[in-house]
């Protein structure tokens, strides 16, 4: 029985390991492609259009004869860069808004919550698409739109945690020894909210990555000819019947990356979420 239990806890641990392994695999392949590929990401070769996967072109070539492996590899960093920047933006803004409104409460809290609630009243991609229509399709636009869209969920989590902690003894202690409100909040209270922030950030990261690929699939992401997974999939649609590799490789790259982050997020949640069941 004990042996079985140990095996099961190992299996739970392995979720995180498997996720990290998948993510590392994608990153390593992409780095390999970026550093050692003899082809450029937008280097066209009309004599070599639609070449099937081979030793020269690992993932084949597309309708302009561009090397698909190089493009998928470089797309990794574009997608990760855009979604990671958006998530960081959301974390910074969300933590600040959530911490201040949870700690000071009163009218600051009320105003912040009205803004948060009105952002949250727009489902899914709707607000992102609306902001994109105003800012135009470019990298900064995607980052700002996604960052605004994900700020509320972080702000709410942080606000809740701060709210439940602000009456505790060590807050009083920090005030009593003469720390300012800001020091008490950011030096002493906020570090206690790290866990929920990490857990929510991992799920926001998958959502942001999925949204980024969806936006570039819709032609509203990072503009061409920059390779992005979504736009590569969108472009491949006309040629897929005869050249399925054009769609397979970018799709596999997205799925493996998302799977990796989802598994890591799961492991984090199992490890840290106070609501998760204890074995």
């Amino acid at each position: 029985m004990a042996a079985l239990k140990r095996m099961l806890s190992l299996a739970r641990l392995s979720n995180g390991l498997l996720g990290s392994a998948l993510l590392l695999l994608v990153l390593a392949m992409s780095l390999l492609g970026l550093l050692f590929s003899p082809y450029g990401t937008i280097e066209v070769d009309f004599l070599n259009r639609f070449a099937a996967p081979s030793l020269e072109h690992w993932f084949g070539t597309d309708e302009y004869g561009r090397d698909v492996f190089t493009r998928v590899a470089s797309g990794t960093f574009i997608s990760l860069r855009v979604s990671a920047t958006a998530v960081i933006l959301a974390i910074v803004a969300g933590v600040f808004i959530g911490a201040v409104s949870g700690y000071f409460a009163g009218w600051i809290d009320r105003i912040a919550m009205v803004i948060i609630d009105s952002i949250m009243a727009f489902p899914g991609l709707l607000l992102v698409l609306g902001i994109m229509s105003a800012l135009g399709p470019n990298e900064a636009g995607v980052i700002i739109a996604l960052g605004i869209a994900y700020t509320p969920s972080i702000a709410r989590i942080v606000r809740g945690s701060i709210f439940s902690l602000r009456e505790t003894d060590y807050v009083d202690a920090s005030r009593l020894i003469g720390n300012s409100e800001w020091t008490t909040l950011f030096r002493h209270l906020l570090p206690n909210c790290i866990t929920p922030i990490v857990v929510i950030s991992s799920s926001i990261f998958t959502a942001a990555l999925l949204s980024e690929t969806a936006l570039s699939f819709l032609g509203l992401g990072v503009p061409p000819p920059e390779p992005s997974w979504g736009s590569m999939l969108a472009d491949s649609r006309n040629y897929l019947v005869l050249n399925p590799w054009l769609g397979i490789f970018p799709g596999v790259a997205i799925t493996l990356t998302l799977l990796g982050i989802n598994l890591i997020g799961d492991a984090l949640r199992d490890r840290w979420d106070p609501r998760a069941e204890t074995p």
Binding site: L8, A11, V114, D117, S118, I119, A121, F122, P123, G124, L125, L126, L127, L129, G130, I131, M132, S133, A134, L135, G136, T206, L210, T213, A214, F217, L218, G219, L220, G230, L233, R237, L240, V241, P244, G247, G251, I254, T255, L258, L259, N262, L263, D266, R275, A276, E277
Partner: protein, 313 residues
């Protein structure tokens, strides 16, 4: 009970106000003079000034907002900049397409998720649980547009069982129309199932530890009765919230799936309006979808006390 409904109903008014203000602000972020967007390359300054006055663009911002809001309340969404067609009827036409797909696929996804998630919780840490959770995570990680393209290639191109692109309303011709909607619905069911399933599983896990479950088992009830009559009652409330969020998310995010399957839905209308810089249309769609989202959440909140007698506001 009645006062709960009433309070909840009143609460949506400030939310809808905030929604309209947000849309107004976002649409004012659009660079350039809106009058030039409406009129194109008209050089006549008198005509432009006249048009500006007619559209109320010479007023201060807050008065423009009030003017726009009163028009909205009279269901006047304006005319499309590109086609000149009334925004409301154009939106509603596309909206019916989207609503069909979203309602059916969310219903099916929820049904599968509730059954599979409950069984997974029951079989916790056994093979069945690991398999179900694994499939759920995989479904959450495959982007819906990629899945959609793959299904088109398999069932449309290779096997030729189903048409690949296009749309016939199933209201007019059910047997033909359903063929066009089958693949989009399967795609959405797979894409949305994972999240709901995991929610059902974790809620059921929490419940299965409670005393009333041991009590039900001690009474000698069958496991299926315990799971689906007793445990499910408690785990359904948080699940319902998530179902509402998913449904709203799809109304706003159906653009992707509609683009893959070339369905004339609201999402595709939104994308083409963004590309055509048809801001009046974008503005209308944002108002329509977010209002629906607020109403869905309202409806679900109102269902709570009916499902769970403990809920009070």
């Amino acid at each position: 009970m009645l006062s709960y409904f009433f309070k909840r109903l009143i609460m949506i008014i400030p939310t809808l106000m905030c929604v309209s203000i947000t849309v107004f602000v976002v649409m004012r972020l659009v660079p350039g003079d809106p009058i030039l967007l409406v009129m194109g390359d008209v050089k006549n300054p008198e005509l432009i000034a006249q048009m500006r006055e007619q559209l109320g663009l010479d007023l201060p911002l807050w008065r423009q907002y009030i003017l726009w809001l009163t028009q909205l309340l009279q269901l006047d969404f304006g005319q499309s900049i590109v086609t000149g067609a009334p925004v409301l009827s154009t939106m509603l036409n596309s909206f019916t397409v989207t609503v069909q797909i979203v309602l059916v696929s969310v219903f099916l996804a929820a049904l599968i998720a509730v059954v599979a998630g409950t069984l997974a919780a029951w079989q916790k840490d056994r093979l069945a649980d690991k398999t179900i959770v694994g499939v759920a995570i995989l479904c959450m990680s495959i982007p819906s547009f990629w899945l959609g393209i793959a299904l088109i290639l398999i069932f449309g191109v290779q096997l030729q069982w189903l048409p690949t692109v296009g749309y016939i309303s199933p209201l007019q011709n059910f047997s033909e129309g359903i063929k066009f909607l089958l693949l989009p619905i399967i795609t959405l069911v797979l894409a949305e199932m994972g999240g709901i399933l995991r929610m059902v599983r974790s809620a059921t896990l929490d419940n299965l530890q409670l005393e009333y479950i041991s009590h039900a088992r001690a009474k000698g009830l069958g496991e299926m009765t315990v799971l689906f009559r007793h445990a499910m009652k408690n785990s359904f409330t948080p699940t319902l919230t998530l179902i509402g969020l998913v449904m709203g998310g799809l109304l706003g995010g159906a653009a992707v799936i509609e683009t893959v399957f070339t369905l004339p839905g609201l999402g595709r209308l939104l994308i083409s309006s963004i590309n055509n810089r048809d801001y009046i249309m974008v503005q209308g769609i944002m108002i329509l979808v977010s209002t629906c989202y607020v109403l869905i959440n309202l409806l679900i909140d109102m269902l709570y006390p009916l499902i769970d007698p403990r809920v009070k506001l």
